[in-house]
């Protein structure tokens, strides 16, 4: 497997870094090489937030993702900014509750699901990011469901372990969307 470059982007507070961490831990569970790099600084406080994750069988070169194979977009500015950068043949996952997918690109695949609305309707407040991850593992073969569950168990801190079943539920919702 060549390196899979993933970019997650949205507003601060949507769980962008958390979702990125789950992907990173999935890589760790599967014994892959990986890197996780957050944007840091004032843009995190209320503004846009993004996170680069690289998964590979070989050591990672630059951890900064500029041309993603997989883009996970959670707000309109992020979608508009990064959809142009997606590598040809790449896949874009986005929350269609918040994003109008306006792009003329035909060389990439778009997967929009109303993840925010699904989270609200299923009592999974703040689970939109995880629902999108469910869609990602359904439409790509990057990680198995089993790996994803192990990744979630690693990232959710022990003091919040009661939230693990909700995260599993969110993954399944995304997989069936």
């Amino acid at each position: 497997m060549a390196t899979t470059e993933i970019l997650l982007a949205g507003f601060g507070g949507q769980g962008i870094l958390f979702a990125g961490k789950i992907l990173a831990y999935c890589g760790l569970m599967d014994n892959k090489e990986l890197s996780w790099l957050p944007s840091y600084g004032p843009e995190m406080r209320g503004g846009t937030c993004n996170c680069s994750v690289c998964i590979s069988d070989e050591p990672i070169g630059s951890p900064l993702v500029l041309t993603p194979d997989i883009l996970i977009a959670m707000n309109q500015p992020s979608f508009d900014k990064f959809v142009k950068e997606v590598r040809p043949g790449g896949k874009v996952f986005f929350d269609s509750t918040l994003i109008e997918a306006d792009t003329d690109r035909t060389d990439i695949q778009l997967f929009g699901i109303p993840s925010q609305q699904m989270a609200d309707e299923n009592g999974l407040k703040g689970g939109s990011n995880i629902i999108l991850l469910g869609k990602v593992i359904k439409e790509t073969n990057i990680f198995s469901l089993d790996t994803m569950k192990k990744g979630i168990e690693k990232v959710v801190p022990p003091t919040k372990a009661q939230l693990i079943p909700n995260n599993f539920k969110a993954i399944e919702l995304g997989m069936n969307a």
């Binding site: 961490k21 990173a24 831990y25 760790l28 014994n31 090489e33 990986l34 890197s35 996780w36 790099l37 957050p38 840091y40 600084g41 050591p59 990672i60 070169g61 630059s62 951890p63 900064l64 500029l66």
Partner: protein, 352 residues
């Protein structure tokens, strides 16, 4: 060994604790703060001291005090904070004390920015303070290497009784990578001949001092120190040579930039351009022997840095200006991309 996922800043802190660091003094600054936060959480559990000083200047002088007693002591900061520490670093060097100083660089000059930079190369390798002195400077390029460098820095600082620096940057500090912590059994160096740790009326006072009013005495202390530096230059250099054996063009880069450069070298090879990478892991002493080995068949060299080109002079001196040394860099917190570096390689190496 268990592979853990850790931020570079946290791994630096954990490695220091495992290497027997007993005193950490610091002051928060982005993009280094996670290091101090980790120390605040963990240091007391391992029987050490974490203290947030009132300023960077206070922190480095606390390191001076702690190191005087013979314990392993450390401070960390980012570029503007390191400038503040420079007086204390000079005193530590002038007092022949071991200490570890970590710089998770950000853009400068002045308050600059908070994004990654390598523009403190000159400061770290030429003049982190006034007077004739050097620090051993390590330049890790991954979270794992950050761990290994910390362990080595504490060891060499004790061995040579001098300050050692880890020169990292915001990218390495903020990124998470898998990391393994080896079993660390730090060598115990005998400090009983100089440490000011209480004479209990059983021996003479040990005096930690950097003041010599007689020029010939001061000169002698410096000459002795430079004899030590000559040994370090012969024994402590370290570098990675990647695909340099048949390389027409050798890219020179350290730290995070070396990762970008390596991606570009791989892309160049796919295009049939014979590119290689020379990556110094020690910036002082500069790996002179290693770069000459890396560049032996090269037509030219290209230094890639997150600065305006602070390593070029060392490269030219090391190869005695025997080949052209070109430069490509981004500065002010901008990270060069593999595509940009590849374009430079094509310009230099792809033409003939």
């Amino acid at each position: 060994m268990e592979r853990k996922l850790m931020k570079g800043n946290e791994a630096l802190a954990e490695a220091a604790i495992r290497a027997g660091c007993k005193c950490f003094f610091g002051y928060p600054i982005t993009p280094q703060t996670e290091l101090a936060a980790y120390m605040a959480k963990r240091m007391h559990k391992s029987g050490g001291v974490f203290l947030q000083a009132e300023s960077e200047i206070a922190a480095i002088n606390m390191v001076l005090g702690a190191a005087s007693t013979g314990v392993r002591a450390m401070t960390s900061s980012s570029s503007p904070g390191i400038s503040l520490k420079s007086e204390g670093v000079s005193y530590i060097a002038g007092s022949d004390l071991p200490a570890v100083i970590i710089n998770v660089e950000r853009g400068g000059p002045g308050l600059g920015g908070i994004q990654p930079s390598q523009a403190d190369y000159w400061q770290a390798t030429k003049a982190l303070g006034h007077g004739d002195f050097q620090l051993i400077v390590y330049a890790p390029a991954s979270v794992q290497e950050m761990v290994d460098c910390v362990v080595k820095a504490f060891d060499r600082a004790d061995k040579y009784r001098m300050p050692a620096m880890i020169l990292a940057d915001g990218l390495l500090g903020q990124m998470m990578e898998p990391v393994e912590f080896p079993e660390i059994n730090p060598d115990a160096y005998d400090k009983s001949g100089w440490a000011a740790n209480g004479h209990k009326f059983k021996r003479e006072h040990h005096i930690i001092n950097s003041l010599y009013l007689q020029p010939d005495e001061l000169e002698k202390s410096i000459l002795d120190r430079y004899k030590k530096y000559e040994i370090i230059k012969k024994t402590e250099t370290d570098a990675e040579l990647y695909l340099t054996e048949d390389a027409d063009i050798v890219i020179c880069a350290f730290g995070a930039t070396a990762r970008v450069a390596k991606s570009a070298v791989n892309s160049a090879r796919e295009l049939g351009i014979k590119a290689g990478l020379f990556r110094p892991k020690t910036l002082w002493p500069f790996p002179v022997k290693e770069i000459n080995e890396a560049a032996k068949n090269a037509k030219c060299l290209l230094s890639v840095e997150m600065s305006m080109g602070q390593m070029i002079d060392d490269i030219k001196l090391a190869i005695n200006c025997s080949k052209p040394v070109h430069f490509f860099g981004r500065t002010g917190g901008v990270i060069p991309t593999p595509v940009e570096v590849l374009e430079e390689i094509k310009k230099l190496g792809g033409a003939d």
